[in-house]
Symmetry: C3
Subunit: 149 residues, 3 copies
């Protein structure tokens, strides 16, 4: 797994970020006296709760894309996108904790990074698919078509 | 990863489907004027919200089973099941958006596909487990027992 | 994938446990007459619902850590931690179904196991990272520093 250690490192960071978010919900539950199983309370609590819920919901999608993109396309580019995404999520969580509006800019940023990872994953899978099943090296064909080789 | 490109393709499709569901929730939030962090509102909104939440909840379980079944059992069969599952989830989302009853038939269909993937995964892991740790090739043993070899 | 069959087996068990939790929510919906898309109702129902939601939320984090720790650190240790985690989650679900307090002890236990898996994953990724990118074998260096070799 030497060729995937960058993806592994970003994944561990992603888990640590989720752990941080979960702790913030526990603190918010104490601060605003909202005991489980209740999930509704003052808006201050609900924003923290929803911020963590939203990040949790996207965690598996992010990890899946990180690895598909890293394994089928390029590990370095995927790891960089991964770090940017985690940074965006941190700003999203902090922004949402302050106000519902504060979540928007970093949310758009994180979504854009996810779309980049979807693009990388699609390209990677498509290239390998045509190579394995159609016996066509699309990159080479593209190069020939453009007169590059 | 040539031998897993089919699983990669189905996984990318699964992410795109989740992206589609998320967009539908955003449209429903606008249509029924339900601003975050609120998650309750008219039943029309709540159905779309719950449909997406349910699909998100099952996304990691589905991706996990797809890959365990594909890697330990058979890539082709797992990929076909994966496509059927994604189709079932699409019909589930559309059905649930219309009425709570409309979600039932495609929900049962998706669940059955997941059970098939659980079966494939269990068989694949069991066969490899007995091969690696018990040094027994269960398929061969079964063949001998049935007088096939 | 012979070297990962233990992780595969624990993963299949984890999915089966989630299936069991989902069935309990369906039974609780029937028992307390809480029809989808509603998710609020008597505390008895809400506890079962939240117990399942919490386990679902942690499922992808658990599976991710199990595999990162198993692939980059040690499969045997990770699989044992995985089994302990699943046992802790079962006790958490049963405990939470009875009372909100009943969830606490097994929740702390499961969290501790996750932290152990985070530790294993971090060590494994760190060791391989320094080996691949810094060309330093940290374990050997540590041994030399301690005068062990």
């Amino acid at each position: 797994m030497e060729e995937a250690v960058g993806l592994g490192a970003v994944t561990v960071l992603a888990v640590l970020e989720q752990a941080y978010f979960s702790l913030q919900v526990i603190y918010a539950r104490r601060k605003y006296s909202v005991s489980p199983p209740t999930t509704s309370g003052p808006p201050e609590f609900e924003r923290v709760f929803r911020a963590q819920a939203n990040c949790s919901e996207y965690f598996p999608i992010f990890v899946t894309l990180l690895w598909i993109s890293g394994v089928f396309f390029n590990q370095g580019l995927s790891s960089v996108c991964g770090l940017l995404y985690l940074y965006g999520r941190l700003r999203y969580f902090w922004g949402y904790s302050v106000s519902a509006k504060g979540r928007l800019a970093p949310l758009y940023f994180s979504s854009q990074i996810l779309w980049v990872l979807i693009g990388f994953s699609s390209i990677g899978v498509l290239l390998m698919f045509s190579q394995v099943y159609l016996n066509v090296d699309l990159l080479q064909e593209l190069g020939s078509a453009l007169g590059l080789s």
